[in-house]
């Protein structure tokens, strides 16, 4: 490496070393039977398929809710109860209600009766199939890269640990505190956007 061109990030990896905890690899304890996984995964994928094929947008939205709930179930199997809760409360309880609301506000009878797919849909489908094949072969070939283990995360204190990552332990800030603050601005912007766009007179 030429010392003339110093990029601090690469020059001093030790300085930016976040002390990320890699707990001791212990064998995965069975959480639930694999059937749980297969059931939830099938529900997620099948209803995902329904989302993009249904004629009626409300049916799509309801299928999407099923997908979201199945994915929340998968999170529970992965010892991520907090994320599962957030998924339910934000997605299923918030975003999807918004979607249903808008579908009903802009409910046009004719939309569900006309052509559902755009003119280039075969191209899109083909490209997506190729994408799927690429992904699957990559996962198949590259699986050596992933650790052959599932670390058992402490489920009982999941929320507390996420809080520690977001807000930091007592007295010092967490790794994601700054991103958290920026996320609050993101939500503020979203509120502003929704109000500006939908209100007739600001």
């Amino acid at each position: 490496m030429n010392p003339a061109l110093v990029i601090p990030a690469l020059a001093h990896p030790s300085r930016m070393a976040a002390a990320f905890i890699d707990s001791a690899p212990n064998p995965a304890a069975p959480i639930a039977t694999p059937w749980f996984f297969y059931g939830l995964a099938a529900a997620a994928v099948i209803s995902g398929l329904l989302v993009i094929t249904r004629r009626n947008a409300v049916h799509s939205a309801l299928s999407l809710i099923v997908t979201l709930l199945s994915v929340a179930g998968l999170y529970l199997m992965l010892y991520a109860p907090f994320v599962a809760g957030v998924q339910i409360i934000v997605y299923a309880g918030g975003i999807m209600v918004l979607f249903l609301f808008v579908i009903m506000l802009v409910n046009i009878e004719r939309v569900s009766k006309e052509r559902q797919f755009n003119r280039i849909w075969p191209v899109g489908l083909l490209a997506s199939c190729a994408l799927l094949a690429l992904f699957m072969s990559a996962i198949q070939k590259g699986k050596s890269l992933f650790l052959d283990r599932m670390v058992q995360l402490p489920e009982g204190t999941n929320t507390q640990q996420i809080a520690a990552a977001l807000y930091g332990e007592t007295g010092k800030m967490g790794q994601y505190t700054f991103a958290f603050e920026i996320a609050s601005l993101l939500l503020l912007v979203a509120i502003l956007g929704a109000v500006i766009m939908t209100k007739k007179k600001i």
């Binding site: 061109l5 070393a17 976040a18 690429l134 990559a138 800030m173 956007g193």
Partner: protein, 484 residues
């Protein structure tokens, strides 16, 4: 104090004060936003003098190095000029609201995070903060159908690309077990770089990034978003958003995924050629100025991608690498001023009942606003890369790096396309100087003082960078940590 904090305080303050001031006094919002930018500049300046060697803030999320500071200055400069351009335009459109300025400042906050973040979470959230603010600003003329359409298209494609980008980031996390770019760089280096999953991660991330910088074939959103957006926002998008996307791309591809450059550089060659070709050829036939400039900005991305190719094919730290990097940064700086200048002139064409974004609207500009017309010519020549103007400097370094890395035919192609560019820029100049103003539109253009300032500053910068490049090159060297 971090400039982000300062900008946020001003953005919130504007939102609150906006509620209290009467309609006629709404322009005070612009003053407030401008003050915010000035204060933020002071903050950045202070940081520059207290942190000589770049430092890591907020527990490894932010890396405030010279690279970040350079981009922060760029964002602040373009936001300042955009605010100068906006005040009058919004009055004409009858959309003078505090929210506009607030969103502008918040988008700058997002950009700053993109330039300084070394944590993919922060990079992603910064990207989204910027992108969502810009979606709203693009659709800010709510009663205008074109603005609506532009916002909707931009949002759909932007959100789609963010999703793909996030998928790539999730794989990168999976490969490294950390969200920090330094760990990711370590995890993808060595023999693992050939692994298919690493390549999928790279490809999805790359697609997201190319979407954001509007490179062909992921450019479709750009012309539409540029054409439909309020003109001042088009200017802002074409410079600040582009610079931020470039900062993100450089952070991720050069700082984080450098070990993978043998994989992404060949892709970049094709993308660069396609982008130059697509941008330049499509620009030839446009009749709408904003659309033409959108395609021309795509073409400019193509030139910058050429520099990226040069960087990718030469060893890390070699002169070609350094010149390529320098070329991109210089190009972004120069482009900021010249393109904002062009858009400032186009914005000033907007007056009662005339939208002013067709080339025909520029006809006879010389007789209606001689100073602006001449300065516009300067900007156009600069965009085309004609020597005395600043645009030449960026192109010079890019072609230099290409030659240093022995990509002669790529350099030749770049020069050829630059000639194409000259043709369509001169079409605009032709309309301004050679054609008569349409009947009933011969009166002097009413141009506000703020707008004159904006055009003047942009022109001054374009000229000074072109004529006395030395301090600016030194600035770029400084920002890259090259001791010379």
């Amino acid at each position: 104090m971090l400039p982000m904090v300062e900008l946020t305080i001003f953005a919130l303050g504007i939102l609150l004060i906006d509620l209290m001031i009467p309609r006629e006094w709404k322009w005070l919002n612009a003053v407030g936003a401008f003050a915010g930018i000035l204060f933020a500049t002071v903050c950045v300046w202070q940081i520059q003098h207290t942190l000589p060697h770049g430092s890591i803030g907020f527990f490894n999320a932010l890396l405030v190095d010279r690279f970040a500071l350079y981009f922060w200055y760029l964002f602040l400069a373009s936001a300042a000029i955009t605010i100068l351009m906006s005040a009058r335009y919004l009055d004409i459109e009858d959309e003078q609201h505090g929210e506009y300025y607030s969103l502008l400042l918040l988008s700058v906050v997002g950009m700053m995070c993109m330039a300084a973040g070394i944590d993919i979470v922060l990079l992603f959230i910064g990207l989204e903060l910027m992108a969502i603010s810009i979606y709203i600003l693009v659709g800010f003329l709510r009663r205008d159908r074109r603005s609506n359409e532009a916002a909707l298209k931009y949002l759909l494609l932007g959100a789609f690309s963010s999703g793909i980008f996030a998928y790539g980031l999730s794989l990168l996390y999976g490969l490294s077990g950390s969200t920090n770019l330094a760990y990711i760089a370590r995890a993808v280096s060595g023999p693992r770089a050939q692994n298919p999953i690493v390549i999928v991660a790279l490809l999805t991330t790359l697609v997201g990034l190319l979407f954001k910088i509007a490179a062909v074939p992921f450019h479709q959103w750009a012309p539409d978003a540029y054409e439909g957006a309020p003109t001042c926002i088009t200017g802002f998008m074409s410079v600040a958003v582009k610079a931020a996307a470039w900062a993100l791309l450089l952070r991720i591809l050069v700082f984080g995924l450098l070990p993978l450059r043998s994989i992404y550089t060949p892709i970049m060659v094709f993308v660069a050629i396609a982008t130059m070709t697509g941008g330049n050829l499509a620009a030839l036939t446009q009749t709408n100025t904003k659309r033409l400039l959108a395609y021309s900005s795509i073409a400019h991305v193509g030139y910058m991608l050429l520099a990226f190719v040069a960087m990718g094919t030469s060893p890390y730290g070699s002169p070609a690498f350094a010149d390529g990097f320098k070329g991109i940064l210089l190009y972004l700086m120069v482009y900021t001023f010249m393109n904002l200048g062009v858009f400032a002139v186009i914005t000033s064409l907007r007056h009662r009942n005339v939208i002013g974004d067709e080339i025909d609207d520029l006809a006879g500009l010389y007789s209606r606003a001689p100073v602006e017309a001449v300065l516009m010519l300067l900007f156009l020549l600069s965009l085309a890369g004609i020597p005395p103007a600043a645009g030449f400097l960026g192109k010079y370094y890019i072609f230099l790096s290409l030659i240093e890395s022995q990509h002669y035919w790529l350099a030749a192609l770049g020069v050829l396309y630059a000639l194409f560019g000259l043709y369509y820029y001169l079409r605009i100049a032709n309309a301004m100087f050679m054609r008569e103003a349409p009947a009933g539109e011969t009166a002097r253009l009413p141009i506000s003082l703020a707008m004159r300032t904006a055009v003047g500053v942009a022109a001054l910068a374009t000229l000074v960078i072109g004529v006395f490049p030395e301090p600016f090159i030194r600035t770029v060297n400084w920002s890259l940590g090259i001791v010379r």
